[in-house]
């Protein structure tokens, strides 16, 4: 058993003997209330979505899962194809809503930790901050000197990011994969 306060995204919980993957986790302290954690969970057997909020001081049971590194090969209609970097076995993480968003951050050829439950891949983990190359960006308009002006650019994975206007195509930028926000320009 663990305290609900240490639940994290990507963790697997046993709720009424069913395995659930935590797909969203947010700490909330309502007005003058106690600390709660608001969860969105995916049933790993049925795929159904469950929402619940519990006190951070309550206890929950973890499901037995393990992680392996998988090199991202390519996506197709069946899902996301990976290769186990140790055994070279290939496997597919089936498509679903959560992964479609994550896929915008996944670079072909890069390894990512993959979570398995009963030999099935159930989740892809992303580093909190990742470097991307800007592939499409409009030049800043001359005379546009407003402090803090931003524009939307595209990176190599197709992800769109709001950045300061000085960012050019070819630049490398650091992006927070949780919020989708620009962090800084990376000098190479």
């Amino acid at each position: 058993m663990i305290k609900a306060g240490s639940i994290d995204k990507g963790m697997c919980l046993l709720i009424k003997d069913e395995p659930y993957l935590v797909t969203e986790r947010e700490f909330v302290n309502p007005g003058k209330g106690a600390a709660f954690v608001r969860l969105k969970l995916k049933n790993l057997k049925t795929g159904s979505v469950l929402r619940e909020t519990i006190k951070t001081s309550e206890s929950v049971e973890e499901a037995d899962v393990y992680e392996r590194d998988g090199q991202f090969l390519y996506p197709d209609d069946m899902g996301y194809h990976f290769m186990d970097t140790e055994t070279y076995d290939q496997f597919i993480v089936p498509k679903d809503e959560d992964f479609e968003e994550k896929a915008l951050y996944m670079k072909e050829g890069d390894p990512y930790p993959i979570v398995f439950f009963e030999s099935e891949p159930i989740d892809i983990k992303l580093p909190l901050k990742m470097v991307f190359k800007v592939t499409e960006a409009q030049d800043a308009v001359k005379g546009d000197t407003v402090t803090g002006a931003t524009k939307v650019i595209k990176v190599e994975t197709g992800l769109e990011v709001k950045v300061p206007i000085f960012i050019k195509a070819g630049d490398k930028i650091l992006v927070n994969t949780e919020s989708g926000e620009y962090v800084e320009r990376v000098n190479t």
Partner: protein, 323 residues
């Protein structure tokens, strides 16, 4: 990353807030961040800092979780309308997009003003700090009962007994435990099914909170509601308003209620029994107060999704760098 834009936006927001209240004749006040004792609030975790005197004696001080204990003393002393922008501290906060243990709070009190009139003041403040008039004019007001019914099908008026509420809420989904008290059941259902569904394109004032949600907001006589509202901007809780309780008997009852559930708290703090004195002779003025999260407001004004983006030296970044 230290952003020039954030330095400017924070400076502008502070100036706009000060101009707004000073123009209305409020006095800006400054009160201690260190306090030897606090208003007991069981759900709030506290930071403690020891003071050592030259004789070697050791005194425990706490970092305030809000400036309420001081500002109400000023009101009792006849300060009139007052406001303050200061730091406040909550321990055992978990990292998240909207929380940080050290944060900036704006708190103001208006004499002879009820909680609903504070909605108008707050809307004017939003306009004064840079929100568009169209956005502020689109604000909606709904009671907790209405919005709860709309999103859960549960009428809180029928849920006055904890057993009934627990069972009805349990049918909506798991997460309700047999040991949950009324307020916990209410919070769980509200946070799971109501709060995420609130409109994000306009300011939302949720008014009339259940009396079982214990706080120092005045109860509306012969009703199960308190004179309290919360403001949600972009779905995020940004401000909290009470018509302030002045009845010593009620305030005593609140202190006792909190004392009885302190065992759930991980941190300890001394109780500010002196706070009760200011209500003894019945001269504490009729007033309402609003506490507003300045960092959250700045997030909205600058389009940031993460509270770290508006704080120049974020707490959790320091924690990560240290470990």
């Amino acid at each position: 990353m230290i952003s020039r834009r954030i330095i400017e936006a924070r400076s502008r927001l502070n100036r706009d807030v000060r101009n707004f209240f000073c123009d209305l004749g409020y006095l800006e006040v400054e009160t201690p961040l260190l306090a030897p004792s606090l208003i007991p609030e069981a759900p709030i975790e506290i930071f403690t800092a020891p003071y050592l005197d030259s004789e070697g004696a050791n005194y425990l001080f706490h970092l305030i979780p809000s400036p309420e204990l001081w500002m109400k003393r000023l009101l009792a002393a006849g300060s009139g309308n007052i406001f303050q922008i200061c730091k406040s501290f909550r321990n055992v906060e978990s990292p998240g997009l909207h929380h940080t243990p050290e944060f900036s709070i704006l708190e103001w009190y208006t004499i002879g003003c009820g909680f609903t009139e504070q909605i108008d003041i707050t809307k004017k403040l939003l306009t004064a700090t840079g929100f568009s008039e169209d956005y502020v004019d689109s604000a909606v007001r709904m009671t907790m009962r209405e919005t709860f019914l709309k999103h859960t099908g549960i009428d809180l008026l029928d849920m006055q007994h904890c057993d009934t509420f627990r069972k009805t809420a349990g049918d909506l989904g798991p997460g309700i435990s047999p040991v949950d008290d009324w307020e916990t059941v209410f919070n769980k259902v509200f946070l799971t099914f109501v709060e995420p569904e609130l409109p994000k394109d306009r300011p939302v004032f949720i008014t009339h909170y259940p009396v079982q949600s214990h706080c120092l907001a005045k109860q509306i006589p012969d009703s199960p509601w308190r004179e309290r509202w919360e403001l949600y901007l972009n779905g995020i809780e940004c401000a909290n308003c009470f018509t302030e309780e002045r009845d010593l008997k009620e305030i005593n009852a609140f202190f006792e209620h909190e004392a009885a559930r302190m065992d759930t708290r991980r941190t300890e703090a001394n109780t500010d029994n002196g706070f009760l004195h200011i209500f003894r002779d019945g001269t504490f003025p009729s007033c309402s107060g609003v506490a507003l999260g300045m960092d959250r407001l700045l997030m909205l004004l600058t389009g940031r999704k993460d509270i770290r983006g508006v704080i120049l030296f974020p707490f959790f970044d320091m924690l990560e760098a240290d470990s």
